[in-house]
């Protein structure tokens, strides 16, 4: 970060809440939303779609929150670059693809980050998360609050 604070930040949690720990991204977004922070928009969905690029373009920073089967515990936070190539298994769009589309279609230079939260159990039709994933979620939540505070013109 350059030190200049951003006015608007988007937290976008995605994943399938009916596949156990896959719902971590959505749950994190909902936890942040409950804080009702001015300048912070929270969205959640099962997957990223092309129209999310339009929402991303309205913000200075977007943090994508998703569960991961193999990231470090309890979470990994990485800066993303727009990428022209997307997964061609793409019923959804990759976070980098959203950034790229936001730039191409809306001349946006939104900064993107991925907050991957380590999950463990991804069985179908399970609407609860594992105990360890819950701990990881809480740690990711504390981290994200700090990130928002450090980078946005808001007070938590």
């Amino acid at each position: 970060m350059s030190g200049e604070k951003i006015k608007k930040i988007l937290i976008f949690g995605y994943g399938n809440v009916l596949r156990g720990d896959d719902g971590l991204g959505q749950m994190l977004s909902e936890k942040i939303e409950a804080l009702r922070l001015e300048g912070v928009t929270c969205e959640s969905d099962i997957q990223l779609e092309i129209e999310d690029s339009a929402i991303a373009a309205e913000h200075g920073i977007i943090v994508f929150a998703d569960s991961s089967v193999d990231c470090k515990e309890p979470y990994e936070f990485t800066k993303l670059s727009p990428k022209e190539s997307v997964s061609i298994t793409s019923h959804s769009v990759a976070p980098e693809g959203i950034l790229h589309l936001a730039g191409l279609c809306f001349n946006s230079s939104v900064q993107g980050y991925l907050l991957a939260i380590r999950g463990y159990e991804f069985n179908f039709f399970v609407d609860r998360i594992s105990k360890q994933a819950e701990q990881n979620l809480n740690e990711a939540f504390e981290f994200l609050k700090g990130f928002i505070s450090d980078n946005c013109e808001i007070h938590i």
């Binding site: 009916l18 089967v69 997307v86 298994t89």
Partner: protein, 486 residues
């Protein structure tokens, strides 16, 4: 004579996972080709024991692609549990608005995100055919790079449909708008005016999308007519009173390849008298068919192509003009060309936005009579036309209001045999004599399947979980070759 088996797994740009196996003999002739789809039937068990009023909300989690279709099909079913199937005008029109919003955004997504690379690349005067665009170009980002205005239109049309859903269902995902016997909100004047602001632009863009699909189809007739094509029956709902295209409600109608009526406007509460499902050992997904014709003759197509073949007309002027042009290509007979799904889908896109416009000008949407009820029932069926085709929800509840039986036949299941037929046709036409899977051949299989816009979802995409795997087996099921694309 021994055989080789090619496996293509999963199918790209299709919702969820699929696997294609192509069986060849030693002379490199295709003997069999199949599309295997992993279908998760566990959802029907998951909702057993839950109170019926929760179902329209829970069932949306079945699918990240068309949750509104499941929401409304379940709500329609539960209307009958509370005896509230004769909805108030406000409730019915709010649901219709929600449904046409879903149809609009889903068709826009499929066209601009998934199929437009098939239609846009390789048709620009280069040596490429309609199916030969290199893999790095077959995605929305390549479309955005070369046709930025079109990409913006696709994104904004998706967004508009999502705004319609948000205004009617309360949220863009997992909405709660439809409840047994009605709806829990009307449309405020502010919401109406917000949606009306962009409606003219959406109609213009929809007309342009129809033109792209039409020009592509008519410009590549010789290439497209045989591609993955075959004669079939066609099934959908049509409006009860006059056979018009009606995506939200109606009666079941099916026609054969020549247009003869084989299911004559049957009440969908009796769907089990009309439709049955066959189980095959090699597929998780069932194969529905029209009962009286049997499983060999009775399978049918659903979705945009089928609907344009069954409906007597489209009750909105712009889309009806386009339908007439579409029908003229086959002299008024059913269209059995797989690649014509794209053109039909864009005509429905135009119809959907016309319906949205008509509904937004209807003051019933600001009414306050939202819910109705009547004599209670314990068994019910809800059916509608989802973006991908006819969607059946069948439930029984007990005296304690708990769901004790659920059976869902989703659109993609209805199109199971047609998709297999399409794969088989492409394999026989293009793989015979070949000894390996080239990029070009792989893409042809994908293009044929994508025309049906199958939703194999119910799935997820946890990071790092969806590579494309291509495997080649010999007659003894030994792996000869394998390719993985992330």
């Amino acid at each position: 004579m021994g055989t080789r088996k090619y496996t293509i797994l999963p199918v790209t740009r299709v919702e969820g996972h699929g696997k294609v196996t192509i069986h060849m003999n030693e002379a490199n002739e295709v003997t069999e080709a199949r599309l295997h789809i992993v279908e998760f039937r566990g959802f029907e068990r998951f909702i057993l024991g839950r109170p019926y009023w929760e179902v329209p909300v829970i069932v949306q989690r079945l699918c990240g692609i068309c949750p509104v279709s499941h929401h409304l099909a379940a709500a329609k079913a539960m209307d009958r549990i509370v005896g509230g199937e004769d909805l108030t005008p406000t409730a019915e029109k709010m649901r219709r608005l929600m449904h046409y919003g879903q149809m609009f955004q889903s068709h826009a997504l499929h066209f601009f995100h998934l199929s437009s690379p098939d239609l846009l690349f390789g048709t620009d005067g280069t040596a490429l055919s309609a199916f030969d665009a290199p893999p790095e170009m077959r995605n929305i980002l390549a479309v955005a790079g070369k046709f930025p205005e079109l990409a913006v239109q696709g994104v904004m049309m998706r967004k508009y449909g999502q705004e319609v859903i948000k205004a009617t269902a309360g949220k863009k995902i997992h909405g709660t708008g439809a409840i047994p016997g009605g709806i829990n909100k009307n449309l405020s004047i502010e919401e109406r005016d917000f949606l009306l602001k962009d409606i003219d632009k959406m109609i213009e863009w929809s007309k342009s999308a129809v033109k792209i699909a039409k020009d592509f189809t008519l410009g590549h007739v010789e290439e497209l007519l045989p591609f993955g094509s075959f004669d079939s029956n066609h099934l959908s709902l049509v409006r009860k009173s006059d056979g018009a295209l009606d995506l939200y409600d109606g009666v079941l109608r099916a026609v054969d390849k020549d247009g003869n009526r084989i299911v004559d406007d049957v009440d969908y509460q009796r769907y089990l008298e009309v439709v049955s499902e066959e189980v095959r050992s090699w597929s998780y997904m069932k194969f529905p068919f029209i009962k009286k014709l049997g499983h060999e003759q009775g399978w049918y197509r659903v979705g945009p192509l089928a609907r344009l073949n069954t409906a007597s007309f489209i009750p909105t002027p712009l889309a009806e003009n386009e339908r007439k042009e579409f029908k003229a290509v086959t002299n008024g007979k059913p269209n059995n060309v797989t690649m014509c799904y794209h053109w039909a889908r864009m005509i429905e896109l135009l119809h959907s936005i016309e319906m949205i416009q008509e509904l937004l000008h209807d003051s019933d949407l600001q009414g306050t009579d939202l819910v109705t009820s009547g004599p209670r029932r314990e068994e019910t069926v809800g059916v509608l036309e989802a973006p991908r085709g006819t969607l059946f929800h069948h439930y029984r509840v007990d005296k304690n209001d708990a769901v004790v039986m659920a059976n869902l036949i989703v659109s993609t299941t209805n199109n199971n045999e047609p998709m297999n037929q399409a794969v088989k046709r492409v394999a026989k036409d293009h793989f015979t004599g070949k000894s390996n899977i080239t990029e070009n051949l792989l893409n042809r299989i994908e293009v044929a399947i994508r025309a049906y816009d199958p939703c194999l979802s119910c799935a997820t995409h946890a990071l790092g979980k969806m590579p494309l795997v291509v495997e080649l087996y010999d007659a003894g099921n030994s792996l000869l070759d394998s390719k993985i694309r992330e």
